[in-house]
């Protein structure tokens, strides 16, 4: 996972509610291997017309915001499908953080596993940040994870919440799998006792399978 310590960048207001992962990256692109990158497919149907030309109204197609790296979003951002491609597409494009009043649960988890910092702030605070970001001269924000602080020109310093453990993992960019595998002893002890109490959980293959 990519570590997150501090970041300074352009804030991009995209405040529609319920932006689902199908809009972040449509399903027809999901077969691409991870290392091929998804930057060009981010918000594809919002960013591009059917003929592939850019939709000038979409914020990322406006020169002041094209290099954005902090997304200011609406309620329930990332709801819908569990596709982690939504996080990959945002990160491949260059986003390092998303600030919204609420998130889809699976998207929220997926983000933190990859080093995309997701911050939940009050609806009105996000609106105020967006208002500010709409003025090109005040579109920069900085985020300090250690201090749990967002700094903007007009709103000043804003504190945000994050679980201590998740913060730690993000600061280090640590691999969760390795950390869990280090608990091998505890897992095995639990597993043995648990499966002994619930022996039917280990499935036995059916005796007959009717073939097509």
């Amino acid at each position: 996972m990519q570590a997150f310590t501090t970041h300074q960048g352009i804030a991009v207001p995209l405040l529609d509610n319920n932006i689902d992962t199908d809009q972040i990256i449509p399903a027809r692109f999901l077969h691409r291997p991870r290392n091929a990158g998804y930057a060009d497919q981010l918000f594809c149907d919002l960013r591009f017309h059917v003929d592939g030309s850019a939709d000038a109204h979409f914020i990322l197609n406006q020169p002041d915001y094209a290099a954005g790296s902090i997304l200011l979003a609406g309620e329930n951002f990332g709801c819908g499908s569990s596709r982690e491609h939504a996080v990959w597409a945002l990160m491949d494009y260059g986003f390092r953080a998303v600030i919204a009043p609420s998130f889809g649960d699976i998207f929220f988890n997926n983000s933190l596993k990859n080093g995309l910092l997701v911050i939940t702030l009050h609806h009105q605070t996000v609106q105020a940040l967006a208002q500010e970001a709409r003025q090109p001269e005040s579109r920069h924000l900085s985020i300090d994870l250690e201090q749990q602080c967002i700094s903007s020109t007009e709103q000043g310093d804003l504190a945000f919440e994050i679980d201590a453990y998740r913060k730690e993992a993000l600061l280090k960019g640590a691999s969760e799998i390795d950390m869990t595998l280090a608990k091998e002893g505890a897992i095995t002890a639990f597993e043995e006792a648990y499966l002994k109490r619930h022996p039917w959980l280990i499935p036995s293959p059916p005796t007959t399978i009717t073939t097509q």
């Binding site: 991870r34 596993k113 595998l181």
Partner: protein, 459 residues
Amino acid sequence: MAKTMFEKIWEAHVVEERPDGTALLYVDRHLVHDATAQAFDLLNEEGHSVRRPDLTFGMADHYVPTHQDPDRQGHHDAMVSALETNTQRHGITSFGMRHAYQGIVHVAGPELGLTQPGMLLVCGDSHTSTHGALGTLAFGIGASEVTHTLATQCLWQKKPRTMRVTLKGTLPAHITAKDLILTIIGKIGANGGTGHVIEYSGTAIQALSMESRLTLCNMSIEAGARAGMVAPDITTFNYLRDKPYAPQGEQYDQAVAYWETLPSDPNATFDKEVEINAGDIAPTVTWGTSPETALPIHAATPNPAAMATEQRSAIEAMLGYMALSPEQPLQGLAIDRVFIGSCTNSRIEDLRAAAAIAKKGKARIPAVVVPGSWQVRTQAEKEGLDRVFIAAGFEWREPGCSMCVAMNGDHIPPHERCASTSNRNFAGRQGRDSRTHLMSPAMAAAAAIHGCITDVRNL
């Protein structure tokens, strides 16, 4: 202390807990499908092995073709074969294309008895909430968590809050679990369940068949909920009896004795309570691009001019995308295509309900029926449902996700309006610029034979 069903199952799976309440949970069942290739790539790159291949099962569904298409347009066979290669490599039992047990993972899992009460079940798909219908704690995870589960058979999770949705009374005739769940989402909103596990309870829920409970729990995620659950009871136990992977003989009795301890204690409290009167529910249809835009059939689209400024632009955008005007009645709205299928509504009961309506006429517009699994398809053919559909001009396809997500080449052409039994009406979900109206199988069949949205109660 009185506990909810969710709390009982959660606690039984805690390997370790952190001071902030995040827990390392043991996973009883992990289902993988053909859209999880990237998670296996990560596992293989990092050189991990699969800890419990015997508790992991594979299913091809998202990318499988549903008909013999000679030019293979828009197909991604490589994704289906990647699942085969990965599961073989790691010793995982997998049901590939045209296997007798193959189907949509959320249809085939319960039907094979792979899903059981009290289990913690995960799958790299948001509609994993479906499996909660059996009293299972089941939720969708992303690719990183799939890799983590493969390697460790465990997952770190923050404990969600609890919510109870109580359905009082009985459902009127012709009203299905689909109408019920669309009504619930319409009431609590697309994020009404965020951060919560929903338990559905009440007399109307207890009366539901297992198929209907699966439909109900399937769409819990459309209310933002982490999971949806129904307490296991005699309906559940009978459903699981003799399923291929369910416990057999003495082990079945032992399991039932455990399953009977799972329902929430009578005095258990929930963080949130919602009550709905089942008797008030009408056939329900969505008009916009979020499942929360669900309305009873006799209603009309909202008028943005009458709304608060903040909501106005969102409503206008949805009406624009859907090519609808303000205050347009849903009844009589012309439809271009019909899709009957998906993990929400492709089980035998759904196909029976759709066939009962298809019998009454001929499809005026293209309509496809995609059974949820080979077992469903075979059963339907035994009952002659395929012949009913074909005689009424519907296409009878092979099992898969198909037009629910348009990943396998099946899709709705741009700007066409589809009556669909699936679970998501998001912009572009069924193909770029497609327009989706969600409804029950009987309502979708009625739309096919009338060419427009029709109240199934009048047929």
